[in-house]
Symmetry: D2
Subunit: 182 residues, 4 copies
DNA sequence: TTTT
DNA sequence: TTTT
């Protein structure tokens, strides 16, 4: 039954890069987002404005991952509800390393694009070249499922992807289908 | 001003150990908690119950840290509201490492002890030897402020404390005092 | 599909009364909780401590409602995650009235009992007479499903139940079963 | 100190109207928002898409209220973190009525405009006539503080404003100033 | 109507 | 690496 404890993360931020989508052997999609949240405040001592940006590694699964891959782009503003998850892996020296991610679970998590397609809901069509940033992108071409799940280690400053991580780590996902509203 | 983005973590879990309290050169308290949240579910394929525990590294500041040090014990159930924060540090080989914590900020975060003092509010006095677990402890003796802030690297399974981290990392805290209700 | 917008309520509080359980014509359970959250603070002007209690009307569905009915009692501390929902109804004079509730939806919401059964996880069996308050109760006897869903209007100070409300308001619930982990 | 219990509401939605700003006798601003969150889902039985919109009454105080009054407009997308609060009032027949609001407290709550000024961050200046909807408005002219706080009962579909409510209900607000980062 |  |  259920769970003992609450593990909930709520983020609103902007993507530092286009989502990275991969496909599991069983065809399920997995998307990784690099999401920035920033705070600014006036320093009590110096009176100057200061700013600090935090980068979050977000991982999405299944349908939600596909939607992210199709509509999110570098700069997109997005709402994320997920849970904290720390994965253990070995670096090239065989040393234990840990990476903490925000996992958006199919049932309990959610992802929502913010800001509206045409900006202020004015309904005008959005033309967006690849160089343009922010907002929602046009759907990309359907991607081919790939077998090489860990082929390209993501580069991330604040919580780098392991270079040798367990292969089957997402096989335990609960089943889910289109009928579930998320 | 303020912030662009939302960075919020909500946890309810139990402490794996007594809080570790340290004091900054300016006398401000810092507490580290190791907090477990667990989920259990029935495996769709095997029909067996499965359980997974996630360990969170939580850091508290100031008054909240002192309250944690005085009243929380191994096993205590606690509510935490904080924000995700990834610190960079160098390991003994000079390699960059990252540790993600849930920081309970003086203004925006909060900590709350759950479950009541005597358990089911039956009012009976709680005697709690150091070996006993859970609930709220009696206040410990006042601790002496220490200078050696990073003296003892905490041991934590899922996100170990750096062995050589920046010394002055918490000097930017906003001022706060007893009038602020948190 | 899914949703545009976020509507999320998180409460931790104590029950002012035992849960009220009812059964829909289709056999689905519905539970109503009256949940108190309180804040206390020192008045800046007078220096006195002040306290304010807020009462929340919470409604649970299905399995979660049954668990609430079996284990929660007056005084129990509970975590609730749900969504705000304002229902319109007519009072005896035919005037429109509105009641705002926190609805714990089967998929997106959750309920969790806090504080542990025996208090500090000391494992001692809990004996709890009906007069005792707080903690988790023993399971009540299984209740008989009833047809008369709106037979007894609940009495609640802060957000009274309509005396003539729509009969079929909960028929749109998504299906759910035991496999869904909530 | 502090509080016993958690009372937290998180909303992301769009304004149904421009904010209504009023000023307390002491000069403090109070803003009321009417915020819509909507859900859509496919009906399991009919296969049709269905949608339900929930309207939330949000109240902001002080600086946050002023920012809302200056930058938010009908259609604006906004993030709200506040707490549930039910106010009692008497209708014209002297009957007790209750209104539930989401109050964004100066210290614990927050408000954040979403979606960026020019929509997809394309940098083009936004011209917005009063009829245009969504996005962030240009700052309005500074308003004159008014004494007649309850002069105009707001019109809101789901939780109408009382027609005769307590006059001094917001006098208990904690002091706050510009140094506090929210 | 709860709890501390 | 984002955004303002």
């Amino acid at each position: 039954m259920a769970s003992r404890g609450i593990n909930k993360v709520i983020l609103i931020g902007n993507l530092g890069n286009d989502p990275e989508i991969r496909y599991l052997p069983n065809g399920g999609a997995v998307a990784n987002l690099s999401l920035a949240t920033s705070e600014s405040w006036r320093d009590k001592n110096t009176g100057e404005m200061r700013e600090k940006t935090e980068w979050h590694r977000v991982v999405l699964f299944g349908k939600t991952a596909e939607v992210a891959g199709e509509y999110l782009r570098k700069g997109s503003q997005v709402y994320i509800e997920g849970q904290l998850q720390t994965r253990k892996w070995q670096d090239q020296n065989g040393q234990d390393r840990y990476t903490t991610e925000v996992a958006v679970q199919p049932f309990s998590g959610s992802m929502q694009m913010l800001g509206g397609r045409g900006g202020q809901n004015q309904g005008q069509p959005m033309q967006q070249s690849p160089q343009q940033q922010g907002g929602w992108g046009q759907p990309q071409q359907p991607k081919q499922p790939q077998q090489n799940f860990n082929q390209q280690p993501p580069q991330q400053q604040s919580a780098p992807q392991p270079q040798s991580q367990p292969q089957q780590q997402y096989n335990d996902l609960p089943d889910f289908d289109d009928d579930i509203p998320f």
